[in-house]
């Protein structure tokens, strides 16, 4: 207001301004995470996927409690019953309630998927961290080993490990996936450590004011955290697939414990007569894989500023 008046009275007087004004930011400042969230919110498919996954998790946790049946008892009065008021998803060839089995199976499948994603991730972080931190010969040897290990087809090795460790239980699957899956994240972690090292060097030479911890926690971690979240989100459906695959060829969880892969595998044989037994677990496997993939894509796009324009 005052300025408007001043310019009308003395248009050609020297422009007075404070030191602050020249540095004034015209655009409102948005933080990185806020930016990502804004970009993510715009991706409706990813948002819907996240909601569906949330619902699935709730059902997997509480679904079995919603009716009086358990996953292993046989109801001989209702064998191969199609979905009814008592058995919402019907029963299988042994008269077991499929609603309960689908959600208990979902617990197994999701547990395997999450743990078999996180463990390799953590091991990879440690290995990559060591490799990057020590550098030199250690780094070279470890990286060569990882090159070679990555050349070995993972699924073949999963099968071999499960055969060796004895098939049929959850921990075997998780151990096998962990042993064959850590190399990729080790490479990523090594790259990250090298980046940190480079930044420390830059900092030392330029003597910027910030401490290394600040750089790591304020800049590096938020950036790499995003990439890691995307990696985890896209690995989970791969593990769900792998579990289903192994169950299908007879290396999954042992009966009577259900898992999604196992339900599909058993039902595939009676598909012609009882299609619902096959289609219901398939639908949940596909839906889960679809949602994780869409969520991962959405997160990645939201994190990549180049794609945002």
């Amino acid at each position: 207001m005052e300025r408007t008046k001043a310019w009308k009275t003395f248009p050609f007087a020297k422009l007075e301004r404070s030191g602050m004004e020249a540095e004034e930011m015209v655009r409102p400042h948005t933080s990185y995470l806020k930016d990502v969230w804004r970009a993510f919110k715009r991706r409706k498919t990813a948002l819907v996927s996240a909601v569906i996954l949330l619902i699935l998790v709730v059902l997997v946790l509480f679904g079995p409690m919603m009716n009086p049946y358990n996953y292993y008892s046989n109801d001989y009065t209702a064998i191969n019953s199609p979905p009814t008021a008592q058995h919402w998803f019907g029963t299988d060839t042994l008269g077991r309630d499929l609603w309960t089995r689908v959600w208990v199976g979902g617990r197994v499948s999701l547990l395997i998927a999450i743990l078999a994603t996180l463990f390799p991730f953590l091991i990879g972080m440690v290995m990559g961290g060591i490799s990057g931190y020590f550098g030199g010969k250690v780094d070279m040897i470890m990286m060569r080993c990882i090159d070679i290990l990555m050349g070995i087809p993972a699924m073949i090795y999963n099968i071999l490990l499960i055969v060796v460790l004895g098939s049929g239980n959850i921990s075997t699957l998780i151990i096998a996936f962990t042993l064959t899956g850590w190399m990729g994240s080790a490479r990523a972690a090594r790259g990250m450590v090298l980046q940190i090292k480079a930044r420390e060097f830059v900092m030392a030479s330029k003597t910027l004011g910030a401490s290394p911890a600040r750089i790591i926690f304020r800049h590096l971690l938020p950036n790499t955290l995003g990439i890691m979240v995307v990696g985890v989100t896209l690995t989970i459906p791969m593990i769900i697939f792998a579990e289903a695959f192994l169950s299908f060829i007879g290396l999954g969880v042992a009966p009577p414990n259900p898992s999604w892969g196992q339900l599909i595998s058993i039902a595939a044989e009676v598909f012609k007569s009882y299609p619902y037994q096959f289609i219901i677990p398939c639908a949940f496997v596909s839906l889960t894989m679809l949602c994780f993939n869409l969520l991962g894509d959405g997160l990645r796009d939201a994190l990549d500023p180049k794609l945002r324009a």
Binding site: R3, F10, F12, A13, K14, L15, A309
Partner: protein, 341 residues
């Protein structure tokens, strides 16, 4: 001399998610046959957008909002895609900044040069090859027979830029746009490329629009200079006038930010404080006012008109030259801004 290209009130905006970025806000310039002009300014001032728009290379989300691009009387702003394709690389061509990224890494350089020639001329492969050799010799390329089969990564930076020049000249264009042709090169190579372009001027009839932020390059090559700031031309005139008698405070800043031995004021080097304005919401007054040492109240709220000096065609858009301010700031104008230190 006949005017080849006349750009009037060119206005280009990029419609991004953050809003409308007004990259070019009413630019006028013209170029005559065989002439070399320079458009000078900091990075981000809209020079590249201006020439890419003229050449029809504006990509999404950029749009021409207003203005005319008269090429031999034909308005290219309204021309069809087919018409533009026929002109691009043929009558108008362009040299880009970084010869490494602007050359296709998986195509032999000879083929990349021949491509434009084959596109615009009915020629056999042999004729094209002959033309490629001829043009490579014109840009003094060493052993062209062998090197036309090379891939870009096998050549040095200077060689690559010669390929870019050869590629741009292969169809004998009427106008050549050179977008920072030396920026990505080593200093010694820069001199070579400038020498090459100067020597080419006498051999070919092409008019050159040189875009640069380097006043040294301008002094070496251009007959006329346009100084651009935040999407507008703030001063233009014959190179001699602009160098000897710069009028706009921004031009003063540009000129005195070059270290030189014969600089006025005991050789002290000046720099322009601050950063260019955000073109998402450009200031309502003179865009340079926030960084200008001599800014007046009016500068912050009103666009300055163009003032013409001495011989025709030396213009500057600055309130210092209004009747009211002229007397008060005679001192500043006289010493080209150096009075206030």
């Amino acid at each position: 001399m006949q005017t080849l290209l006349k750009v009037e009130n060119l206005t280009v905006s990029f419609f991004t998610q953050a809003g409308e970025v007004q990259a070019v806000r009413g630019v006028d310039f013209d170029i005559r046959q065989k002439e070399t002009i320079a458009i000078v300014g900091e990075s981000g001032c809209g020079k590249t957008v201006t020439v890419q728009t003229v050449m029809g290379l504006l990509s999404n989300p950029g749009r021409v909002k207003d203005g005319r691009i008269l090429f031999r009387g034909e308005d290219l702003a309204k021309a069809s895609r087919e018409r533009l394709h026929a002109l691009q690389g043929n009558e108008m061509s362009m040299i880009f900044q970084d010869p490494l990224t602007y050359l296709n890494p998986t195509m032999r350089v000879g083929r990349q040069i021949a491509e434009a020639y084959l596109q615009h001329n009915k020629a056999t492969r042999d004729e094209a090859a002959a033309r490629v050799l001829e043009i490579m010799r014109l840009v003094s390329f060493p052993s062209p027979e062998r090197n036309m089969r090379a891939y870009p990564f096998q050549l040095s930076g200077g060689m690559r830029q010669r390929i870019m020049v050869a590629m741009a000249l292969v169809c004998n264009p009427v106008v050549l746009f050179a977008d920072e042709p030396t920026t990505a090169l080593d200093v010694t190579i820069q001199a070579q490329i400038i020498e090459l372009m100067n020597s080419l001027k006498s051999k070919i009839d092409t008019a050159i629009v040189l875009i640069t932020h380097d006043m040294g390059v301008v002094a070496n090559m251009a007959q006329r200079v346009y100084v651009m700031y935040a999407g507008r031309i703030v001063e233009h005139g014959a190179a001699q006038d602009v160098f000897e008698n710069p009028r706009h405070p921004y031009t003063w800043g540009l000129l005195y930010s070059i270290p030189r031995l014969d600089a006025p004021g005991k050789g002290a080097m000046e720099f322009i404080p601050g950063t260019p304005p955000d073109l998402l919401c450009p200031p309502e007054g003179c865009a340079f006012a926030p960084r200008c040492k001599h800014a007046m109240n009016i500068c912050a709220v009103r666009q300055p008109p163009k003032y013409t000096f001495g011989r025709a065609e030396h213009c500057a858009a600055c309130w210092l030259y209004s009747e009211e301010a002229k007397k008060t700031y005679a001192d500043v104008i006289e010493k080209r801004g150096n009075a206030n230190g």
